[in-house]
Each structure stands twice: as C-alpha cells, then as structure tokens.
Symmetry: D2
Subunit: 348 residues, 4 copies
C-alpha cells in the first residue's frame, strides 16, 4: 500500500490518452502525430523548444548521462547513490566508461561547498584520471528530501563555473514542483539544468519518463544510435508520447503530485504520533523514513506490502511512500491500525 | 499503410487487458498477479514451465544473446543481418564482447551445410578467437521468408552437435505458426530452440515482446542484473504482462497473424498482376519485396506512407508489410490504384 | 622456424637502443627524452609532425579505431578479418560500440568498386544503423597480398568522397615499403591514410607498434583517457620509444624487411618446385600459403614448428612466414628436406 | 629523482635476463621456454602451482577483476582509490559492468569492521543491485601504509565468510615482504588472497607485472579471450617472462625492495629534521607524504622532478618516492639541500 509509488495504477487521464492514440496507423519510432504534439506541448510547458525522448527510469538517467559528457568523464553524485544503488552500473556502462565520483552531504543533498572542494582537488589533464564533466542531482533525494531553488542555484553556479554540465534525475519532478510552488521552467533550465529526466511513471504514467535536453550546445548527433543501441528506441512510440502529454496537460501531473504529497504529510503526522516513532529525515515530498517500535511494526507485517523494512547505516527503519492513488481515508485507517487500535496488513 | 507492422494500432483484446490490469496497487518489477498469471499461461502455451521476460524488439534479442553465451563468444547469423542491420551494435555490446559471425544462404535463410562448414573451420581453443557459442536464427527472415520445420530441424542438429545454443528471433512468431499450421511447442523447444524472443509488438501489442528461456541448463543468476543494467526491468510490469497474456489467450495472436498473412497474400497476388511487377522473394508471411515499374510506383508516392522504397544489392524495389489491422478492402483499393485505375497515396 | 614473424628474436639495433635507454631516471608515461626524440624522428621519417603512441598489435588497431570515429559508427573491412579473426571483439568494444561491416574482394583485398557499392546502399541518418565512418585496410592482407599504391589511391578516393576516415593496419608496413620501393610518406598520409598502425614488433622489435595520427582534424582530447582505460599507457615508456626509434633510424626497418621478403621469395620458389605443390596466393611479402602433397608435409611434422597447417575455405594447406632472422641457408636446407632429400622438422 | 618508482631504470639482473632470452625463435603468445620456466619458478616461489600472466599496472588489476567475479558484481575498495583514482574506469569496464563500492578506513586501510558492516547492509538478490563479489586490497595503500599480516588475516576472514574473493593489488609486493620479513606464501594465498597482481615494474622491471591466480575454483576458461580482447596477450611473451623470472630468482626483488625501503626511511628521517616539516602518514615502505614549509620547498622547485606537489583533502603537501636505484648519498645530498644548506633541483 505504501511500499512505492511504482505500485500505483495508471491515472485515468493517461489511460484515456492511450486509448485516444489507439486509432489506425502511425509512423513508427517517432515522427508520429502524438509525438509531434508532445514536442509542442513540452516546449510550451518548459517555455523553450525541446524534444523529449521517452525512456524508463534507470534507462532515462543512463541515456542522459551517456549522451551528455565525453567518454571517460567523471560524473559527480551524492554517495547515497552508492548506498542505495539501484542502477547496477548502467550509468558507468552506457556512456562507454564514465567514472562516478561520490560526494557526501547532509540530508542526502550535495551542497555547493562540498562540490567546490571536490572539484578543486580533482585531477585534470591527466590521462590516468577521468576529467570532471557532469553534476548529477537527484531532485528528490534517496532520503525524500528536496533541493530548494536556492540550493539548486548555488550548486549550479559551482558546477557551471567549473565547466560541468548539470543533469537532474527528476523522477519525482512534479512532486517537488508543487511542494515549492515553482514553475517547470524555474525548476529546470532557469535553475541551471542542462538535461532533465522528467519522471512520469511514478506520477500516474505507465512507462513514461522523458529525457529533456535544454542545453543547445550539446550535439544530439549520436543520440539516435545511443537510443537504439540501448533498447530505448520505441517502435510504437505514440503510446509513450501520449502518456507524457496527458500528464503535463491541464495540470494533471501537478494534481497527482499534490495528492501524493498531501497524503504523505498526513501519514507522517499520523506515524509521528505513535509512541516511540522517530522520523529519520524531514518529510518534504512523498517518502517517509521512520523508526517504529516493534509493537507498531507488528501491526502491519501481514501478507500485504504496506511499507518496506530497511536496515542501512541509519539502523533498522521503515520506508513509506505514498502515490497519486493514496487516499486520506486509507492513511487514517493505516495509522489507526499501526497505533494498535485495529488490525491491518492482510488487507494492504 | 503497408509500410510496417509496427505502424498498426494495438488490438482490442490487448487494450482490454491493459484496462483490466489498471486497478489499485501491484508489486513493482514483477511478481505481481498479472505477471504470475502470465507465467502460468506461457507455461501452458509452450507446454513446459517458463518465465517470460518482457523486453522490446532489439532489447529482447540483445538481452537473450547477452544472457545465453559466455563472454567473448561467437554468435552465428545470416549476413542479411549485416546488410539490413538495425541493431546498432547492441548484440555485440550487451553480452560484453560477443563477435557476430555472418553466414550466407539463399532466400536469406542459413542452411545446415553452410553452418556446418563454417563451424568446421572455426578456430577453437585459441585466445585470439571468440569460440562458437550461439546460432541466432531470424524465424521470419529479412526477406520475409520463413524456416520450415524441416529446415529448423536440420540446422538445429548441426548447432547442437557443435555445442551451440540456438536463439530464435521470433518477432513474427505467430505469423510463421499459422503459415505452417504448427504448434508453439513444435516451433520452439521441440524444434531445438533454447531461447526464443516471442514477438507480440508487431502482432497487436503495444510494447510487449518476451524472452523465453527453454534450456534449463542455462543459469539465470545474472539475468536480473543484466535486465536492470540494460534498462529492461520494468517498474510497472503488470501492463506488459497483461499484453503478452492477452495475445496468447484464446488464439488472439493466431487470429491476428492469420489476418496479417491473408492480406499479404492478397496484396502480393494483386501487385503481381501489375504489368512489369516482379516479386523478389516468395511471399510466405506478411512481407512483400517487389520490383514495380515507375508508372505503378508513381501511383502511391503521395504524402502517405504506403510502402518503403529501398535500394540494396537486389536493386531498387518496394517493401510492403501488412499488419493485423490490414483489410481485404484496403488491399483491393490499393491494388486498383497502383494498377493505375484510381489514385491513392494521399489517403494512405 | 617459418611459423610466424612473431617468433623471431629482437634485432641487435633494437637491443642496443633499449640498453642505451637504461640509464638513471626518466619521466614516466611519456615526455621522457627517448619519447621526445622519437617524436622528432617519426616526424622526420613521415615528413610531417606526428606523435606516435606505442601500443601492441591488437591493442594498436583497437586504440586507433576507438579513437578515430564517433561511437556507434560502422567500420568497413575485408571479410577475411572475419574468417581469420584474431581480435576477439576488441575493435568493436574499445570504441564503445562500433559495428564491423565486412566486404568481399579477391586476393583478400577490398577493391574500390566493392567499397563504393557498399557505401551507396549503406543506411545513413537512421538511428537503427551505425553510420559509415571508417575504412580499415590491412596493408598486407591475411593472404599475404599487398595493396599497390594505385589500389590504395583508388580506394582512398572512394572512402574520402564518402566522408570515411582511412585506418591502415600496417603490422608489416616496412615489408610493403621495400617491396614497392615506396616512401613512408607515399605509403601513408600522401596515400590517403588518416591513422596508421606502424608495425615494429614483427620486424625486429620487442613490443613496439605505434599508432600514428596524420589527420589533424581528429581531436586527440580523449586519447589519454582511452589509452589508460585500455591499459596502453606505459609507465616506463622510454623503452618502447627507444625500440621504435631504433627501427626507423638508419633504414634498420627496411633492412630487416628486405631480408624477410627475400627469404620468403626464395622459400616460395623452392616450395613451388616440389611435385604437387600449389601456391594459393601470390607471394608478395613474407607469407606463403601453399598446398603440399602429404609426402612433402610428412617431412616437417616433427616436434619443431616449421609451418602452420591450416584448414579453411581454401582447403587444407600450409602457411609459411619468414622473419628478419631467416636466412637463405635455412631456407635451402628446409626446401631440400621438404623435397624429401633430407629429413628436417625435429631440428626446426 | 624522488617523483616515482616508475621513473627508475631497469635493474641489471632483468636486463641480463632479457638479453639471455634474445636468441633465435620462440613460440609466440606464451608456451615458450622462458614462459614455461617462469611457471616453474613462480610455482616454487609461491609454493603452489601457478601460471603467472604478464600484464602491466592498471591492466593487471583490470584483468584480475574482470576475470574473477561474475558480471554485474560489486567490488569493495578503499575510497582512496576514488580520490586518487588513476584507472580511468578500467576496473568497471573490463569486467563488463562491475560496480565499485568504496569504503573508508584510517591510514587508507580498510579495516575488518568497516567491511563487515558494509557487507551486512549490502543488498543481495535484487536485480537492481550488483551483489558483493570481490574485496580488492591495495597492499601498499595510496598513503604508503601497508596491511600487516594480522590486518590481512582479519579482513580476509570477513571477506571469505561473506563469499567474497580477495584480490590484492601488489604493485609493491616485495617492498611489503621485506618490511615484514614475511614469506611470499604468507603474504599471498596463506594470507587469504585469491588473486594477486604481483608488481615487478616499479621494482626493477621494464614492463612486467603478473596476475597470479591462487584460487583453483576460479575457471580460467575465458581468460585467454579476456586477455586478447583487452590487448594483454603478448606476441613475444618470452621477454616479459624473463623479467619476472629474473626478479624472483636469487632474491633480486627482495634486494631491490630493501634498498628502496631503506633509502625511503633515510629520506623520511632527513626530511623530518627540517623545521616545520610534518609527515602525513607513517612511512612504512617507500612513499613519504610530507608537509614542508615554503622555505624548504623553494629549494627543490627547479626544472628537475624531485618530488610531487599535491593538494588533496590533506591539504598541500609533497610526495616523495624512492626506488631501487635510489642511494643513501643522493638522499643525503637532497636532504642537505632541502634544509637550505645547498641548492638542488636543477640537477634532479
């Protein structure tokens, strides 16, 4: 139930868009009507001409990082990416030999000073070392915390002053957007982002993240081959384009994100009331990392999948994630049960 | 209109299955109900326990070939794969260093003797050479021709006697199935196939090909990492499983394939009647390669996309492909127009 | 004895140069005195400023091909590279995803027309296909035949007119040079070569081939990283530089090559006299491919390694290779024995 | 002068061995007499049957790590490997997709507890994560510190109890050996090492490190292809074998290492006497990391290369490295000069 935003079903607007795209023939591999519409819509949404490329999750990030830097370059990241690593080496492999450089930072955020001093001592011009080339930010970090616009701006300045491209893993882009009341433009290229992985799958899509390239100095010449080589060129692309389009149209993405964030806040508040509970990180979007006493945990260890028990350097704790189909009612029922007032779990 | 089976829309049965899967939460990355159902259904369809892995087109083949052999192995293929190559090196790269060995053969089919003599002179046990490891067959070849069961059997024997695994690119598996009145079992593991890429996308799916591993001696230990690393681990997998399930259920795949093949036969017969037309290969499934005089070609060069003009070692010619949504009526209208009796093209 | 030019020992001039370099300290990884001297010497030898990069055999070719083209490009080669392949996929892997396109051609030489028609039908601008980018020539082919200057010129024109870079595998560069009485310049950049792998190991060196980049439009920015990543950055580089320098100095390479070629010609003449012997290819440099009757072959099948018995699409035959330390006397003794007049083999 | 042990020339014993190997013909790519002799000698030296594979520096480590684990595995390392990284991604790339996991630890040594807790929280059995597979130790760390036998033993136990292979980067193996008065056996397989990169280049060789596989459960089947694919199969291998053999014969390696260590101790003692000097790490072998006041540093900043100025998270400091051709006299002259009593630098 609160195990991941990946477990949620597709939102009605996206399903309707898929249905609407399902008529007759359409050019394969892009250049179909739905994809051309998508280009126009994204260009409007981000107030600059862009051509989003559909690709899923890990693939979107790997593709962006493979495309952006020269081969044999260093990609700077927060070390949480190491701990919780879920990419199985894709971001090193797809570029044909990148090197990840891991940075520390509180609340799983890279701060500008840490980046600055790492770059200051980075070896340059030596064949033995991969030169710094990209800063890769996870907008909503592995701790569920978010970069504020101010933080983005200061880190972006360090990156650009050092000649780095800035890549943003925006798997939960819309969640951050509504949390800050920010515009898509401000959160992306005006905020110094060169390449964005716009996340739609977790926010109501079926399989629909999109790589958006804002920096026009980047040559896109190899991009087609890179996509095909890595299995990210979709024959029936119209169905992916339709999903992305449906989400950015008519604030559907924002609406979904708001529901997600609100239920997370409600859930966090409820769990905090449980005696002995302790939040590990501030709850800024839709992820809650919480230590719970055994008595509470015992209440939701049935056959369902209400939350994920984890054990890392923060000790044993639970991760809850709400999604666009989470409801206040479900949250309340869950909290009541977890507090020991009623049994849940089997019905998760 | 007849440009590719990739341009066709998704069949109603698949759309209904996607809709039906779109309820509530489901475990991410597999192990959801729809995926477990799929395992059972495929195991029934192929009369042996299997666990199909969803992956699209190029990705399915690359994944199968990355999984099967040891690293640094040779993969034997027909050289048409070279001419018409559409994989951009994925099948060399995903395995981490395979070598493609290209074979000749009439009608774009590898024959058993050619394979035998290639293997006889293949270097073995030398570090400088990649040892023979896999035979990769494209069931419906790039010329639209098909391997008969007899041909499969004789080539399979050569492969297995030489210690090769047999991989089948079955992008048009169902089309071959109905053309020969064969069973799924006979066309796959009983026919000596170790790994099948079962094609569903071209036959009415949205994005739904599946890697099916029949040979139980193959260790699947690395498969999860391989999928993740290559962007083929799907978070909302239920939607892909539902597609594959819908197609093998209640002979939907066969029905779609039959419609496809029959309209191709009708189209081939019609085009053959055009004065000066000449078929380049026998039309066995749903692809037609035909030389057409300029007068006929002029009739469908409007803004639509009725067929593909090609120019390879067979000289300039047209490729027509029918799909599961092609109709006898559309074929007849097209042939009439191409014969000069009425204008088409703009309406393609 | 005649099994390969790789079995021969290092020539005295090279050994003396290694000894001379073995004094005190020298900068590691290049920029040492011997390496700077080498740059000047090679620049003089090739009459243009160049910076040769030491790398061995397969590594030299793989490095050159990794460096030259964009990723995901096609490299055009003669298909003999396929038959006799000894690179185990390095030339696909090091560039991070190149595609080899194999061409036919008599006497194992690519001819200009074959290349022209292959390029004419090569798909361009399609993401599914790797665009043509490099022509890779093996100056002395796998059949021991050589490209004449005229042949080089005509093939080079086709390549350059089609935007291809031209790479030359010059493992036996000096042998061709003396065979044609050509200049290093004429055989390389004036002959249209963009990147040369200058072979020294087979011609008297210890481990000393060199990648020479003539085309100044090629960015060498990634080259250092590429070398390190692939284990081709040598800490004590002075010893490799000294070898290459010793060979191009004072016509040592040419002297060695002449001795090699002359003993091959003598051996070929001698073997041809044996009743039933038949040369498979013209003997142009130092490799002899010859069918020999069993009675002759029986004369050198002792524990030594006089020649290599092979069995490929040319049927069973022997390959003889002379080297810079082969002598007329040794040839005569061998031929006499092979003719049945005296026993050899055990003493090979 | 004290810039690296890579700048030193080759020791006389190795040069004589190369000369001695330079007679007549020898089988190429191994199986020559010198290589077979080497196998016997190494087997004696390590008191167990082994077959050392020559490979240089980065290449040796990359080859060992490519060979040992399954693809997509995690390799555990000290994070200093990240800071000072000199491999440009080779150890990720050669295995075809490994993931480096970086560990902390004082004096640049991994300790057993750190490893234990990292492994305890390592994700296993998830496709999204690369499973732990190898512990890679740098025997002489990037801080010049060494693992004691006790430390090796305790860390080895943790690794093996968790199913990890243990790889040792032994670029300065002999230096550690003589420092501890340990046997080759005790420092390698009896100490729990599965694969050793035995370093000879820095200790008097020309290009001669060797991969030594002790664990017989490791299949060596792919090793030949792996070597060829990565440019580590040497045509004239006898010259590399001769180098390795000369070093382990008659305690040459130990003699060289002792001279190296002793001059380092002398240099460290001398530099410590300089007012304001401060050693950053204990000097255990032949590397000295020292903060020096500007007045002292000014004494050796001439055109020579006496030491390396560095600036990392330890602040600005100098790195001195002695080599087997360093002398007590040279050390004394240098220290005197650095202390301001005489000028050096130009004569470095």
């Amino acid at each position: 139930m609160f195990v991941s935003d990946n477990v949620s079903c597709v939102c009605p607007e996206v399903m309707r868009a898929i249905d609407a795209a399902n008529i007759g023939d359409a050019v394969a591999y892009g250049d179909d009507e739905a994809s051309n519409d998508l280009d126009r819509a994204f260009s409007g949404y981000f107030e600059t001409p862009v051509t989003p490329l559909p690709a899923g999750c890990t693939a979107a990030n790997a593709l962006a990082l493979a495309f952006a830097p020269p081969r044999f370059a260093s990609i700077y990241r927060h070390q949480a990416a190491d701990i919780e690593t879920t990419e199985c080496g894709a971001c090193e492999a797809w570029p044909g030999g990148s090197k990840l450089v891991l940075l520390g930072g509180e609340q799983y955020r890279i701060d500008a000073d840490t980046l600055w001093s790492a770059l200051a001592r980075a070896p340059r011009g030596r064949p033995q070392s991969a030169a710094p080339a990209v800063l890769s930010l996870t907008l909503v970090t592995e701790a569920g915390t978010v970069y504020s616009l101010d933080q983005l701006t200061s880190i972006w300045r360090v990156a650009h002053n050092n000649g780095l491209l800035v890549h943003m893993d925006g798997a939960r882009f819309s969640n951050a957007l509504v949390a800050f009341g920010c515009t898509p433009t401000g959160m992306s290229w005006r905020g110094g982002i060169d390449i964005l992985c716009y996340g739609a799958t977790k926010n109501g899509g079926m399989r629909a993240d999109g790589v958006v390239i804002f920096n026009r100095d980047l040559s896109t010449q190899q991009l087609g081959s890179l996509r095909q080589r890595n299995g990210q060129l979709y024959s029936k692309r119209r169905y992916l384009s339709a999903q992305l389009h449906a989400l950015i149209h008519d604030v559907v993405a924002e609406k979904n994100a708001r529901q997600t964030n609100e239920t997370a806040a409600r859930l966090a508040a409820g769990l905090s009331q449980i005696k002995g509970a302790r939040l590990l990180f501030s709850v800024e979007i839709n992820e809650i990392f919480v230590f719970l006493p055994e008595s509470a945990a015992a209440n939701f260890t049935g056959p369902g999948y209400a939350a994920t028990l984890r054990n890392d350097r923060n000790g044993p704790h639970y991760r809850f994630v709400t999604a666009r189909n989470s409801t206040a009612t479900a949250v309340d029922i869950f909290v009541t049960a977890a507090s020991g007032k009623a049994q849940i779990g089997g019905a998760a």
